[in-house]
């Protein structure tokens, strides 16, 4: 058994290294005083300075933030409703509509939305089309998280509220919503991260006007790679890390409260 464990641990350590070394290299080279991502020359913050002087990049970051906030808001509202409806009622069609966009290759959603926006809505592609597209694929993720939380909860809580004479709205506002709140917040954070990171669907629904962050990064990678890409990458990693820590804190808080109420 011992020998087996050593073997497992070394295999796992290699896989963890495979996961982390590439990202570590990106971070390290963001501080490298050389235009080439080849060898370490010296420490510098100039790539970060260049980034903050890059007006187009800042506009792109601002636009992506607006898109992510709008899309995660609408996806959270609609996704929470979908999660509640799927959990509560025996629905046939809604689960298919909600979960298919999550499971299929993103390119299919991107292409079909592009055709739909241009042919049916006659919409000029831009911020609005991206927000709608991001909402469409984020709804499913929120619904999955909310439904999982509902499945973990004791049905008798809702029955008790009803027996005590609460109207459906009161039951929702005073019992259901506070209980599923951690899942709703987790879903919102997840949608925000998915939206700000999304490349494929944004690529198809972006139009030509406003610069968007993932598209800017893509152009930099494809056209001229400078360590500015490493700098923006490092900042984005930091942002997601903060979001994950917040989500984990909320989750820990919720589960400790659950433990208290159930005991």
């Amino acid at each position: 058994m011992k020998r087996n464990n050593t073997w497992l641990w070394s295999a796992a350590a290699l896989v963890y290294a495979f996961l982390y070394i590439p990202l570590a290299i990106v971070v390290v080279y963001s501080f490298n005083d050389s235009r080439l991502n080849a060898e370490w020359v010296g420490f510098t913050l100039s790539w970060y300075k260049a980034l903050f002087n890059n007006a187009e990049m800042l506009t792109a970051a601002g636009n992506s933030l607006i898109i992510a906030l709008s899309a995660s808001f609408s996806a959270t509202v609609l996704g929470t409703m979908a999660g509640l409806a799927i959990h509560r009622y025996n629905l046939k069609v809604l689960p298919v509509l909600v979960f298919t966009p999550v499971a299929m290759p993103e390119i299919l959603l991107g292409v079909s939305l592009l055709l739909f926006f241009l042919q049916v809505l006659n919409l000029t592609l831009g911020m609005v089309s991206i927000i709608i597209a991001h909402t469409t694929f984020c709804i499913g993720f929120v619904a999955i998280i909310v439904r999982a939380r509902l499945q973990d909860m004791d049905e008798s809580l809702f029955e008790a509220a009803r027996d005590l004479g609460a109207s459906p709205w009161q039951t929702f506002r005073l019992v259901t919503l506070p209980l599923i709140m951690p899942a709703v917040v987790a879903g919102a954070l997840m949608s925000f991260t998915l939206s700000i990171d999304d490349f494929v669907i944004t690529f198809f629904t972006k139009g030509v006007g406003e610069p968007i962050l993932p598209i800017q990064i893509y152009t930099m990678i494809k056209v001229a790679v400078t360590p500015e890409v490493n700098a923006i990458s490092t900042l984005l990693m930091l942002l997601t890390l903060v979001m994950i820590i917040i989500a984990a804190k909320l989750d820990a808080h919720a589960s400790s409260r659950d433990a208290k109420t159930s005991s």
């Binding site: 590439p22 990106v26 080849a38 409806a85």
Partner: protein, 303 residues
């Protein structure tokens, strides 16, 4: 339940389920139908689409509906070849992900309970970073000036083999695909392995089974549902991926995704792009159906 309750239930159901239903009906079902429709139209002279009805001025121009886009797909072997290459890439990625993910998932599932969440988080964490950045990282690692490239070429040089370029090759695409999709394999595997009863392995050991036998006769067969769902979660997105070959691959390494992308943003042949998307959808649906059928819980089996 009184009649009033029933009606109230129906109203609540409509209020809660209605808005997401309508939104997705418009922005998911609608676009899918439009894509099917588009695949049966003629391409426009300058990209986009030809009108459905013939414009009065140019009666000769093509209009109406046609299966031309599909005929075009089957008329040239090149497209079938790209589909085949995409399937091969998806299969190779899935296989390598399985080999990398399995020991990791076993380790996490058998480690102490209090470490499990942390170990899972460590798998997921890199994947919270931007998708493009994860691909870009491999551009650095596989680039011609990178330490890895120089090391490999120094060794090959000893044997008199000319320098190889790692970047912009099918190898680079495969590495990128594995890196981007690995957690989709680890998570379902772990979820499955965690449910296994350790008593089974102990019993097998008591009956004299060695480590190898215990793995092949107990752990592996029990983990098959996890293997199949993980494989579907890797196989399906790889099939439609265009960003990885686009960034890490050479001009000859294009897959279905790149072909589709080109029809919309390059040559602008919308009907052909739509037809390719429909073919991809059919491929995805068959893979998903196969995986669901394979992963179905066998009767009389635990877990």
């Amino acid at each position: 339940m009184s009649k009033g309750d029933l009606r109230e239930g129906r109203v609540a159901r409509l209020l809660v389920g209605g808005p997401p239903f309508i939104f997705l009906l418009i922005f998911f079902v609608g676009p899918s139908l439009i894509m099917i429709l588009t695949s049966f139209r003629f391409p426009g002279e300058f990209g986009g689409l030809a009108p459905i009805a013939a414009p009065a001025a140019s009666a000769e121009s093509e209009h109406g509906f046609t299966p031309e886009a599909y005929q075009f797909f089957f008329s040239d072997l090149l497209y079938g070849e790209i589909f085949f290459k995409s399937f091969a890439m998806a299969a190779a990625t899935t296989f390598i992900c399985l080999i990398l993910a399995y020991p990791l998932a076993v380790l996490i599932a058998r480690s102490e309970k209090r470490f499990r969440n942390l170990l899972v988080l460590l798998v997921v964490l890199p994947f919270a970073s931007n998708f493009l950045i994860r691909i870009y990282a491999w551009m650095i690692i596989l680039g011609p000036e990178s330490a890895l490239s120089q090391f490999i070429n120094a060794i090959l040089g000893v044997f008199g083999i000319g320098p190889v370029t790692l970047l912009f090759s099918p190898f680079a695409v495969l590495v990128g695909m594995v890196y981007v999709h690995l957690p989709f394999m680890v998570l379902p595997l772990y979820t499955n392995l965690e449910k296994h009863d350790p008593a089974l392995l102990n019993a097998a050991q008591d009956l004299g089974a060695n480590g190898w036998q215990r793995f092949w006769q107990i752990t592996w067969p029990l983990s098959l549902p996890g293997v199949f769902s993980g494989s579907a979660l890797v196989f399906i997105p790889v099939l439609g991926m265009f960003a990885v070959p686009d960034i890490l691959g050479g001009t000859g390494d294009i897959l279905i995704g790149n072909l589709i992308k080109d029809q919309f943003l390059g040559t602008r042949d919308w009907p052909f792009g739509s037809a390719l998307s429909i073919m991809l959808t059919l491929a995805v649906l068959s893979v998903a159906a196969l995986a669901t059928w394979l992963a179905r819980p066998a009767t009389g089996q635990q877990g």
